[in-house]
């Protein structure tokens, strides 16, 4: 029952968020709703007992990919027409204050309570003692580093290549303003084109 409610709640939320991403005109809204949708997607992974995949989803997508997009968007003009308009500043102030309070309570609650939440370290050793089976991250590690070791390493090399490629592509002439040079580039490209045609 709980699983059913969670599934449908997150399904509706994800679909709404991605629909906003696809339909909105504002790049900033698209970015924010995409990040929200990614986090809601990770909820499905937790529902499906794929704990490690859910954690990776949050870290890689909402941590790395969204940050990369946010940095990339700073290069483009797509957010220049966004106007910050706060309709009710007092409401914003109250909401952010309440949220800050809730966050503090959440973080302090385990310290105040009678027993601390036990952290199962080292993972494999104390697990049976607490009545836990070997969890999903352990299984994933077993399979990933035996059967899928070669694809794993190939993926690592691919990420390295992509990182170097991204740095070289984006970092070229980072210190100059290329909008001034664009005329030269156009001119150059045109001359090459005409040469080729002839």
């Amino acid at each position: 029952m709980f699983e059913l409610v969670a599934f449908y709640t997150f399904a509706i939320l994800t679909i709404v968020m991605f629909t906003i991403t696809v339909t909105t005109k504002n790049a900033l809204y698209a970015l924010s709703s995409l990040a929200a949708g990614m986090i809601f997607i990770s909820a499905f992974f937790f529902l499906l007992d794929a704990d490690f995949l859910g954690v990776v989803q949050i870290i890689v997508y909402t941590g790395a990919v969204m940050a990369l997009y946010a940095f990339g968007m700073m290069f483009f003009d797509s957010i220049s027409d966004v106007e910050e308009k706060v309709a009710n500043p007092r409401l914003t102030f109250m909401l952010s204050g309440i949220i800050a309070l809730i966050v503090v309570v959440i973080f302090v609650a385990p310290l105040v309570g009678a027993a601390n939440i036990p952290a199962h370290y080292p993972v494999g050793l104390g697990a049976e003692q607490y009545g836990l089976a070997v969890g999903n991250p352990q299984d994933v590690g077993m399979v990933l580093f035996t059967k899928y070791l070669i694809p794993f390493e190939v993926a690592a090399v691919m990420l390295l290549v992509a990182m170097i490629g991204g740095i070289i592509l984006a970092g070229k002439k980072m210190d100059t303003n290329l909008s001034d040079e664009s005329k030269d580039v156009h001119h150059h490209a045109d001359s090459i084109n005409t040469k080729d045609v002839k």
């Binding site: 599934f7 696809v22 992974f45 990339g72 290069f75």
Partner: protein
């Protein structure tokens, strides 16, 4: 009443088609990247669901590799996009229609 594999696959299909719709109708290249991310995530949900209901970790492994591929796609794609924006000062898809002979 339980959530079945069909529910997850239907959800995966819906999300994939939302992303597909975005890839078709958006003209902004950044939005095209967003649509690609949505499609990759939809497929990941399907993989994780099949992995769970068939009790086989292979689906999750493929989901991991898809995440790795998506990350490198973003790195290279954004690099190219920044390069294009520096040259043409626009990231509109119509600005790329220069290939016709």
């Amino acid at each position: 009443m339980m959530v079945t594999l069909n529910d997850y696959l239907v959800l995966s299909a819906i999300l994939f088609f939302i992303g597909f719709l975005g890839a078709i109708r958006r003209k902004n290249l950044l939005m095209l990247f967003f649509a690609t991310e949505i499609m990759l995530n939809a497929v990941n949900v399907g993989f994780a669901a099949i992995s769970h209901f068939h009790a086989d970790l292979t689906g999750q492994m493929f989901a991991f590799f898809i995440i790795a591929i998506a990350a490198s796609e973003v790195a290279v794609g954004l690099g190219l996009l920044i390069l294009w924006f520096k040259k043409k000062n626009t990231i509109n898809l119509d600005s790329m229609q220069k290939m016709e002979g």
